[in-house]
Symmetry: C2
Subunit: 192 residues, 2 copies
């Protein structure tokens, strides 16, 4: 019987694809094994346990999200960058809800946890974006947290179908990013 030729990264990729399909809470080792044409215990040769697996998905997701935002904001600044970055994040999460859920469920474990730099990359993208507004240095952290909360909250709610009313969700997102942009401009001591 030939081997399946698995490796930690390929298992993680398959798990990420699966989790986007069936939902984060429905991920099971058995189902993943089936997808890979292997028996469940064999997976433990590549990941230590299910927690390790979901953690790896989280790291993957944060890097992919950081890449998506970076690519979308390439060459843009100020309002344009903000809108493009926000749209890129929303699009990524709608396309990969399971991965994003894994990212939210994960916690940074030790000082060498690769999740930390992955999350930092995402935060650095937002920070760079906010830099264009020339805020007071002590306001930047507040603005970063606000932006993060807003985007995270919006996409989380949208992903679980939380917006019931029939008003178009795209319109709300556009309005919202415009609202934040105007607020940031008028908060800026230089651009106001």
């Amino acid at each position: 019987m030939p081997r399946a030729g698995l490796v930690a990264s390929s298992v993680t990729e398959a798990a990420a694809a699966l989790v986007d399909e069936v939902g984060f809470e429905n991920l099971s080792m058995g189902l993943l094994a089936e997808r890979l044409g292997v028996r469940a215990p064999s997976l433990y040769k590549h990941v230590t346990d299910k927690a390790d697996l979901t953690h790896r998905i989280a790291v993957l997701a944060m890097h992919e999200l950081a890449d998506a935002v970076r690519d979308a904001t390439q060459g843009l600044a100020g309002s344009d960058a903000l809108v493009a970055g926000a749209r890129a994040m929303r699009s990524y999460v709608l396309q990969h809800p399971g991965r994003y859920a894994a990212g939210n469920a994960a916690r940074v474990q030790g000082p060498d946890d690769p999740l930390a730099p992955a999350v930092d990359r995402v935060l650095a993208s937002w920070t760079a974006m906010l830099h264009g507004y020339r805020l007071h240095p002590h306001e930047e952290v507040h603005a970063l947290r606000m932006l993060r909360s807003l985007l995270h909250g919006f996409v989380s709610l949208e992903a679980i179908g939380g917006f019931q009313m029939d008003t178009d969700v795209d319109d709300s997102f556009t309005w919202m990013t415009g609202f934040i942009d105007r607020g940031l401009v008028s908060t800026s001591p230089r651009l106001a």
Copy 2:
């Protein structure tokens, strides 16, 4: 042997307390039964299954949240109401993270699901609050979604310890509510 004298509501209350203590994902029928001085299968005389139990917690949580916001904004309007309501929500979630997690995990099931009116009560609170800003009618939904996203995102991130930097989280929250308030005021066709 005397009976424990349980009833659906008391089981739900106990489960809500437990879930705040051990975390939503660590809720187990066995642990809850132990707390109630009963064996696990006995719980099924009061709730149909674990999903039913968490759903009941969710309904309870949404009503409690709606109450907290209503009480906090009593007699206030405009900016004052917004700030007070936002603070009340943040405070509730920090005090009852498990309940709030249950509320987010729940989905409205049928047309008679008591979760729907409970969620509506919360949304109605925010809507009433926004009414003070006299926005254009077609902008109200957008503003509601923004406010909801922002608050949900912030308290969710805070509850899981997502804000790493040592800048005070209280300060960020205050800054953020102020930012939104100013934005709403200047968006309003009457108050600007």
